[in-house]
């Protein structure tokens, strides 16, 4: 475990020194990220000019939700996205060989090796946004509420990663270069909506099968409304299932890779 922490510190160090080399890209990314945040906030601001409640939430509550999913998105962009982008190609091209011979988990390496230092500012901006949203929140809350929110949002980022993996891993069998990544991005929008708007089979899809609604919406709901066990346990159960499923498919994928690799 300590070894993995040290390895990750090296990843960070390398990524930052690499990012310094490309300064233009660095500043461009910051502007892009700010625009992304503003568009999201504006979207709900406009909606609130026509109504006072959306999915049971007031505007100050909705701002916390928006800040939360922007934070999850920022974590995922910074920590995982570059790796995910490469992973599909590496599997497709048969480039996992060197990862399989090292005495270290290939999943760890392939998922975390490229920390996207360019998006790091994005992470800071989103933390700032969440702080602002909490500052303007009308109801009282305790430190433990806040702690739970943050912990569940981090868990949400990991769920997001799992969902992404689930749509990349078919590359082991399909031989298409990107798996179902486009599907992932078009469905990922479900993360950016309060879960209450999903009814019927859509609700089943987004809270159990591909649990995008659990990534930010459930944690925020537990924070804004009273903590309740059913919601919390639903979240925990789906998280566990998601990991088991993802790791299982990953293992089978490696097996398929080993049989086909020449």
């Amino acid at each position: 475990m300590k070894r993995y922490v040290r390895l990750y510190l090296y990843f960070l160090q390398f990524s930052f020194s690499k990012a310094m080399e490309f300064r233009l890209d660095f500043s461009f990314r910051i502007i892009m990220d700010i625009v992304y945040s503003l568009v999201n906030i504006l979207f709900f601001k406009i909606l609130f000019q026509h109504t006072t409640l959306i999915a049971g939430w007031r505007e100050d509550q909705m701002l916390i939700f928006v800040a939360s999913y922007i934070l999850v998105d920022a974590i995922s962009m910074t920590v995982f996205s570059t790796n995910m982008w490469w992973l599909a190609f590496q599997i497709n091209k048969g480039d996992l060989d060197y990862h399989l011979i090292r005495p270290v988990s290939p999943l760890f390496f392939l998922s975390l090796r490229e920390f996207s230092a360019n998006s790091f500012m994005n992470l800071l901006i989103s933390i700032g946004l969440l702080t602002y949203a909490l500052g303007h929140y009308a109801d009282p809350f305790s430190w433990s509420d806040l702690f739970l929110l943050l912990a569940l949002l981090i868990n949400g980022a990991l769920m997001y990663y799992c969902c992404q993996m689930l749509l990349i891993l078919p590359v082991f069998w399909t031989q298409s270069a990107r798996g179902f990544m486009d599907l992932f991005y078009s469905m990922g929008i479900a993360m950016e909506r309060p879960d209450r708007i999903f009814k019927g089979w859509l609700r089943v899809l987004f809270t159990i099968v591909l649990p995008f609604a659990l990534i930010a919406s459930f944690p925020v709901r537990l924070f804004l409304e009273k903590f309740n066990w059913p919601t919390f346990l639903h979240l925990v159960a789906v998280t566990i299932l998601l990991w088991i499923l993802m790791l299982g498919i990953w293992r089978r994928g490696l097996r398929a890779y080993s049989s086909a690799s020449s």
Binding site: R3, R6, L7, Y10, F14, K18, D95, D97, Y98, L100, I101, R102, P103, V104, R255, S258, S259, A260, S261, S262
Partner: protein, 308 residues
């Protein structure tokens, strides 16, 4: 010790007729095609031994090496390397093994070599003293000291191969698989790599399997040779026994006004023979080369050297 018993590997792949029609057909009806890359091969290698594995493209060299390195699952048969089953990939095995593929790089392009090495030090948990000693020794022997702080992508092909070798040997592996380590390198870089491998083998005595397209690599480094042809070993024995065939022949390609031909000529007859060719033909171009791996294997088979 490496012990391979009746090891086979069959690949299945689906084939598709060319064009859009073929794609449509393959959507509904996949035709499977299987290829036997290895057909029940046996092999035993002792600690400290270095063997040369030669064969044409697609003969099964890389497949064998990848099975031994644990990347590929075999179809049947058994393999034990240092007592481990490679494709189960236990960490104790992976820590003592190293694989170098001339056509794939394992160090990170955007980083200076030393940064990659630090990462490897962590991955293999190499003690600081051993790490320092190895970096020193390897950089010295490979004469690459001054390039360690340059980003790898800015290095020449030969320098990059040297970095790859360093990276693969930092943890003092007991088993080394070298798959075409000199491919694409210019003559002086090939020479440097060969020189290094000989020194390294002398110093650390690992078990090494070397595959190469260049007979020079094999002749200089491997007292024992295994020849693989269409997934089967057709020769496993001392280099000295086939040395005659290996070193003795040259291939002369001749282009004249009217025709082009190639003949195999024993080295000692080379002067006479070329003289004769110039006298008998109206030569435009004449080229003297070493025989290709395929031709060498053919002549070994012809002269009737059999598995010992």
């Amino acid at each position: 010790m490496i012990k391979v018993s009746s090891l086979s590997k069959t690949f299945t792949s689906s084939i598709k007729e060319p064009g859009i029609k073929g794609s449509l057909i393959s959507l509904f009806h996949r035709q499977k095609q299987s290829k036997e890359a290895l057909k029940s091969v046996d092999l035993e290698i002792q600690q400290g031994e270095i063997i040369g594995l030669i064969g044409a493209n697609g003969a099964g060299k890389t497949t064998l090496v990848k099975i031994l390195a644990g990347i590929v699952h075999p179809t049947s048969g058994d393999v034990k390397v240092l007592g481990f089953t490679p494709w189960k990939r236990p960490n104790e095995y992976r820590k003592q093994m190293s694989l170098i593929m001339g056509q794939k790089n394992q160090v990170w392009w955007d980083l200076p070599a030393l940064d990659s090495f630090l990462l490897l030090k962590e991955i293999y948990q190499i003690p600081v003293a051993q790490y320092k000693r190895n970096v020193e020794f390897l950089a010295e022997t490979l004469m690459i000291k001054d390039q360690l702080k340059t980003q790898v992508r800015k290095l020449s092909l030969g320098e990059r191969m040297k970095i790859e070798l360093m990276a693969a040997l930092l943890h003092n592996p007991k088993v080394i698989f070298l798959d075409e380590p000199t491919i694409g390198l210019d003559l002086s870089a090939q020479k440097a790599v060969r020189h290094f491998l000989r020194e390294y083998q002398k110093e650390f005595r690992p078990m090494t399997i070397l595959t190469s397209h260049y007979m020079e690599d094999i002749k200089e480094l491997c007292p024992r040779v295994v020849i693989i042809k269409e997934g089967q070993f057709v020769y496993d024995g001392a280099l000295s026994k086939i040395q005659g065939v290996l070193g003795d022949e040259k291939v002369v390609s001749v282009t004249t006004q009217s025709e082009t031909f190639r003949i195999h000529v024993p080295r000692q007859d080379l002067a006479n023979k070329t003289h004769q060719i110039f006298q008998e033909h109206d030569v435009i171009d004449l080229n003297i080369q070493d025989p290709s791996i395929e031709e060498v294997i053919e002549s070994i088979m012809r002269t009737g050297v059999h598995t010992t």
